[in-house]
Every structure is written in structure tokens, then in C-alpha cells.
């Protein structure tokens, strides 16, 4: 079921792949391009989330929300889905605001699927 949601998410313009991961960087499910290793991506995003949460808590910012990383040739958007996280690989030139809007129903579906 999670895979099916990710496959549909991959059809959204600007999405280059997606992986659901636990907070410690373990892969729950992933639909990614051949050249992207889901385990490596999940581990890297898990570590990044740890650093970001440490920073947010040190600055007394409550509640974990989206994390966005932008590079010269693409980006990564990490969104909370229940107790897990969804990391979306973003194509270069994607409209981030639109993508976040379009990703919302998928995060809701994933949160429901993970809670089952």
C-alpha cells in the first residue's frame, strides 16, 4: 500500500523519487531512480533530521516540520508522516510551493497507512 502511494506521488511534476524512512534512517519503502540508493538516502536524511531537530530544540522551536535542502542540481524535501518521514527527491527547477501543496494528500495517506 505504501509503495502504491509512492508510485502515485512519483507522477507529480517535480518529483524525482521518494522514500519513507524511520527517524533513525531506516528505509520503510522507496521508489527511486536507479542511480539513487534508497538505503544511503534514508541514512543521510535520517542523520540530517537528527541534526535539524537538535538545532530546533536548542533554539526552543517546538514541533518538527518540513525540512528542505536545495542543491544546484535538485533538492530534497522531508515531510513528517506520522512517526516516520517522507523524503522526496526534487527535480531541478521544480516549484517547491506547488510541490508541497501537491504532496499534502500523499503525506496524509502515508500517515494513515503507517498507522495501520
Amino acid at each position: 500500500m505504501i509503495d502504491e502511494i509512492l508510485i502515485k506521488l512519483n507522477r507529480v511534476r517535480g518529483v524525482g523519487g521518494a522514500v519513507v524512512l524511520t527517524t533513525d534512517g531506516q528505509v520503510v519503502a522507496g521508489v527511486l531512480r536507479q542511480e539513487v540508493d534508497d538505503a544511503r538516502l534514508a541514512a543521510a536524511v535520517g542523520t540530517l533530521l537528527g541534526h535539524a531537530q537538535h538545532l530546533a530544540s536548542t533554539l526552543r522551536l517546538a514541533g518538527g516540520g518540513p525540512l528542505h535542502v536545495q542543491g544546484e542540481l535538485g533538492g530534497i524535501l522531508a515531510l513528517p508522516v506520522g512517526k516516520a518521514w517522507l523524503a522526496i527527491v526534487i527535480d531541478p527547477g521544480a516549484n517547491l510551493a506547488l510541490l508541497q501543496l501537491e504532496a499534502r494528500p500523499f503525506t496524509e495517506q502515508l500517515a494513515a497507512a503507517i498507522a495501520l
Binding site: 512519483n10 543521510a44 536524511v45 538545532l55 530546533a56 533554539l59 518538527g64 525540512l67 535538485g74
Partner: protein, 290 residues
């Protein structure tokens, strides 16, 4: 290769992505199908008109067929969509150099260097500038090569022949222009405070943040930056440009160029990141990092 082509053809039907289209173009070209490769590029551009690399691959295909002007037009179109497409400047430089249009080639390489410092580009630029000055002794090109865009901390490495002397303000109090840029950023509605840090997470300059909080933001922000760069490596996302963390009670945004200098902004959760980015990039520019 045929099976890989077939697999990608099926994949692109179900999950169209820019990278799959460009991979198909490359594989078709490797298989000797230049027309097919060009068609995949055009399909990619129809579906993802802002995907710059498709323009570069298309230009390469056109240039290989001797369609130099078409290739240059494709590269110009790619740069229009993505002005930071360094590969397009480099490709244009090679085409122009081959056509004997050396001054234009040099100009393209300079643009590439402004976007991203690269020793290969600098070497090529020296080569082209040298050949231009050989034919025209009074050429001003050799003295006009831009300095490497990494004016962070003084380095022990020998300066490249074209490099301008590095005068970094980072270990000293901010100069008036830098202080003004920081003031403007910190004065934006919804901004709680700003810190500028170096690659090691040390505070260079700060505005509006309580003592201690600026150091925590800079130090822990550097950790996040390193993690973000590593995550981008796994996806082929290139060098880090920015990262942001949004929570219910505030957001942290960071903008960097090459990871050497980072502008970190602590803001209300409702502030629009695009507005902050404009101001933060101004600070980076004033610091000489952009």
C-alpha cells in the same frame, strides 16, 4: 544496452522524470541513434521545460551534427531557464572556441567561473586567453579573469596566476556595506535574528540574536549544512545552496555558496522563504561570497 533502454522506456511511461528522459537520450546516443537521442531530449523539454541539462545534451547532439548555431541557441535557451547552468556556459565556450570565436568563448568561461570555481575551467580559460593574446598582443583578456569565488579564510595554497589578491573581511568586523546588508535582512518583518558563519560554524557577524543563541545557531547550523550536503550527494543534487527547517513556532533558513560562508536566519513560521532568500543572497554578495 537494449534492455536498459527498454526498461527506461517503460519507466518513463509510468514515472516520467527529467533524469530518465536525459538518461534515455544518452543511451540512444551511445547506441548510435542520434535522431532518437534528440527526440528524447525534446520530449524531456516538453515535459520539463526548466530542466537545463536536457538543453546541454541537445546542444551536444546538434553540435556533433555540425549544427553549431542550433547548438548555441539550445544552450542560450537552457541558460534562459536556468541562469546557473554552468555546463551550458562550458559547452558554449567549447563550441565558440572551435569556431574561432575566442573572445566569446572566454566570456562564457568567465561566466562559468562566477557561478562555480573550477580548476579545469580556469586552466581552459588561461589556455584560451593565452591563444587570444598570442594573436592579439594587446588583448585585455588575460588581466580580466575573475578571481576564484571563495574569499573565505586565507589559504596556504599558492594563488592561481589569474587570482586576484584575496582580501577577506571575515576575521574582522563587518565593513559598512556588509553591515548594511545584514541590517536590511534583520529588519525584514518576521525576522528574529541573523548570523553569518564560516565553514567551521564560527560566527562571523550577527544581528538581533541574543548572546549564545548566535553561536548555537552557527555551530549547529554548520552540522545541518554538512548533513544536507551529504544527503544531496546521494541524489546527485550538486553543491548545497540552501536548507530550511520549519516548525510550528519558527523557522531556520540557511543560504550558502560553496559551504564557505552561510547566512543563517531565525524567523517567524509565517515568513515567506523567498523574501528572506533575496535579502540573504544580498548579504552573501556583499560578503563577496556570491
Amino acid at each position: 544496452m537494449e534492455s536498459e533502454l527498454e526498461r527506461l522506456r517503460k519507466k518513463v511511461e509510468n514515472f516520467p522524470s527529467a533524469s530518465t528522459f536525459t538518461r534515455l537520450a544518452e543511451l540512444s546516443h551511445d547506441a548510435g541513434d542520434a535522431a532518437g537521442a534528440e527526440e528524447w531530449c525534446r520530449k524531456c523539454l516538453r515535459a520539463f521545460p526548466r530542466h537545463g541539462m536536457a538543453y546541454v545534451i541537445l546542444a551536444d547532439l546538434q553540435n556533433a551534427k555540425g549544427r553549431t548555431e542550433d547548438a548555441l541557441k539550445s544552450l542560450a535557451a537552457g541558460l534562459e531557464k536556468d541562469p546557473r547552468l554552468v555546463q551550458a556556459h562550458r559547452a558554449a565556450a567549447e563550441i565558440l572556441a572551435k569556431a574561432g570565436r575566442t573572445p566569446e568563448a572566454v566570456a562564457e568561461l568567465k561566466k562559468a567561473l562566477v557561478i562555480k570555481d573550477d580548476e579545469q575551467v580556469r586552466a581552459r580559460l588561461r589556455e584560451l586567453a593565452g591563444s587570444a593574446s598570442g594573436s592579439r598582443p594587446a588583448s585585455p583578456l588575460a588581466g580580466a579573469v575573475p578571481a576564484a569565488p571563495r574569499p573565505t579564510v586565507p589559504t596556504a595554497a599558492p594563488a592561481a596566476p589569474f587570482a586576484q589578491p584575496v582580501t577577506t573581511p571575515f576575521s574582522r568586523p563587518a565593513a559598512p556595506a556588509q553591515a548594511r546588508a545584514l541590517d536590511h535582512l534583520a529588519a525584514e518583518p518576521g525576522i528574529r535574528g541573523v548570523a553569518v558563519s564560516d565553514a567551521s560554524g564560527r560566527v562571523i557577524s550577527t544581528k538581533g540574536l541574543p548572546a549564545g543563541q548566535d553561536e548555537a545557531l552557527a555551530a549547529l547550523g554548520a552540522e545541518v549544512g554538512r548533513g544536507a550536503a551529504m544527503a544531496l550527494t546521494t541524489t546527485g543534487g550538486g553543491g548545497l545552496g540552501s536548507w530550511s527547517v520549519v516548525t510550528g513556532s519558527g523557522q531556520i533558513l540557511a543560504f550558502t555558496r560553496g559551504g564557505q560562508v552561510t547566512v543563517l536566519v531565525l524567523a517567524e513560521p509565517t515568513v515567506r522563504p523567498a523574501m528572506i532568500e533575496l535579502r540573504a543572497r544580498q548579504v552573501l554578495a556583499e560578503l563577496g561570497a556570491a
